[in-house]
Subunit: 316 residues, 2 copies
């Protein structure tokens, strides 16, 4: 019984699949499957069983889950405690949905570290679906993106979501775009577009856009560039595309109900269970400096890989 094995089990149980757990841990699927198998044989219990679609916990697995989760949490506490006792800079592991990571998180965290002294910040990309597990298992401290249930969600940034396309796109000249006809055009999105827990994912779902109409780009900026090129329509975050719209490179479509008024949240564990650095970031989010940093539309930031394995194994 190793910590790695318990971690693998907890993530499989929480995310409901070996594949998802492997992705969240940034390792291959057999790595997780193997850890699970080792734990199974050690404890002499299947722990999780395949059950049509997802995985279900055995009686033993149900009892093990909270205990294993606690152990994993305490292991994180242990490293934190030592870190802190040594006066080492606090560690703040931030995960964000791809759109947030690309345009908002970077300047925000840069401003935060500049202002709040010695903090070691890491930023990674995750889907909204895996964020709760990552936060609960202390693989991350803050999850930036849509509100997550079961966690403490602090409103972070209000933004507006519109639909944009290039000036030569057929829809660019239509005076009024009906929502229904949007499903018949190519959609150019980033990774969060195929994450049904994000706003864009929900939007595409609501519009019933078929999968073969969705083209995933490595970044929102790339999707907008393709849209400007006339290859299709794209979701656009108002203040970020404003400059391109002004210069005529993009057109904001007059879709009924848009732009959508939306909010991004900073999701964390409840007070007491989160680290001090996390609290400091939460407080920072309420300051004008934070707002200013997030509003700054520096779309030119270097885009990280598509889904980088963010989480180095905590216990080597």
């Amino acid at each position: 019984m190793t910590l790695t094995q318990l971690e693998a089990f907890v993530l499989v149980a929480r995310l409901g699949s070996v594949k998802a757990a492997a992705r969240a841990l940034g390792v291959s699927e057999p790595a997780v499957s193997g850890a699970l198998a080792a734990l199974r044989s050690h404890l002499g219990d299947p722990l999780v069983r395949r059950a049509g679609g997802g995985m279900e916990l055995t009686a033993g697995g149900q009892r093990l889950l909270p205990i294993a989760s606690q152990i994993v949490n305490l292991a994180a506490d242990a490293t934190d405690a030592i870190r802190h006792a040594q006066g080492a800079p606090d560690l703040l592991r931030v995960v964000a949905t791809s759109a947030v990571a690309e345009h908002v998180a970077r300047p925000l965290l840069t401003a935060f570290t500049a202002r709040h002294g010695p903090v070691e910040v890491t930023l990674g990309v995750a889907t909204a679906g895996e964020m709760p597990a990552l936060l609960l298992e202390r693989l991350a401290d803050v999850g930036l993106g849509p509100r997550l249930s079961g966690l403490e969600a602090l409103p972070m940034m209000r933004h507006r979501l519109a639909v944009v396309c290039g000036p030569r796109h057929p829809l660019a000249r239509v005076p009024r775009v009906r929502a229904g006809c949007l499903a018949r055009h190519d959609w150019l999105v980033d990774a969060s577009g195929v994450d049904p827990a994000t706003e864009v994912g929900l939007l595409l779902e609501r519009l019933a856009v078929p999968e073969d109409r969705i083209r995933v780009f490595p970044s929102l900026a790339a999707a907008w560039a393709a849209a400007a090129d006339g290859q299709g329509v794209a979701p656009g975050i108002a203040h970020l595309v404003a400059q391109d719209v002004e210069r005529g490179r993009l057109v904001m479509l007059p879709v009924e109900g848009t732009p959508l008024d939306l909010m991004w949240f900073a999701n964390t564990l409840p007070a007491g269970r989160r680290s001090m650095a996390t609290d400091r970031l939460r407080r920072f989010l309420d300051t004008p400096q934070a707002m200013q940093a997030m509003r700054r539309a520096d779309a030119g930031v270097p885009v990280s890989r598509f889904r980088p394995p963010v989480y180095v194994t905590l216990w080597s």
Copy 2:
């Protein structure tokens, strides 16, 4: 950071020495030292430092200790939970001071298992000094011996401690033995005689018996046999030597203040933190069957090795 390493650290911290921790775990000293070194380098903190006589915790070590202890405890909980969920027989790990293990624990536990159905009981020998750590770290469920502070001590068996010797020993004919002169004779004891936390150890300490006057035998029975042979005086548990005294093989010395009225205790974690099997044993201790089993003076039980490594590593 492995569970083994955390376990080693906790025991070193609790017992105040690498040597003691190694003994409690039944492994060699470098094994513990090595685990500690690995944890140290992983966390980048010395954790414990040598400080004249014992070991002292660094600031980081002090923070780590309660966390590591919790982790170890939860790991034990995990195996318990699975065991229980599978309907496997409960596990009850009993440790006792050598005298108790030799004469009282065996028949007691035999009667307990016979009466209380499917329970898997293991019995080991430990010094009273290491019992608290063993119980707190869930390496054992019950510690039989003297009352241990900080734990729940259930009175288990009243007994009387006398001083005995062979019929041809010079002291055997003295009408009144002064306590002071006992320090000038050879003492024949078992392992618990050199454990200053047991009654016999305290007795020898109070009598100021010098170390070179103490001869340690692998069992109380062996010490009594040597005493009967005239090789010296020995501590005698009244009801256990009664038969030998009756037959003239041993003489109970008229030392002032003896026989001492003493009590053995069953030490456990407080309610709620102990296993169900532990609770069952506690209840059993109040029954006439338990009393009867313990009173039965079957000194002929095969004596275990001097200090057997009782505790197999919990996580392989």
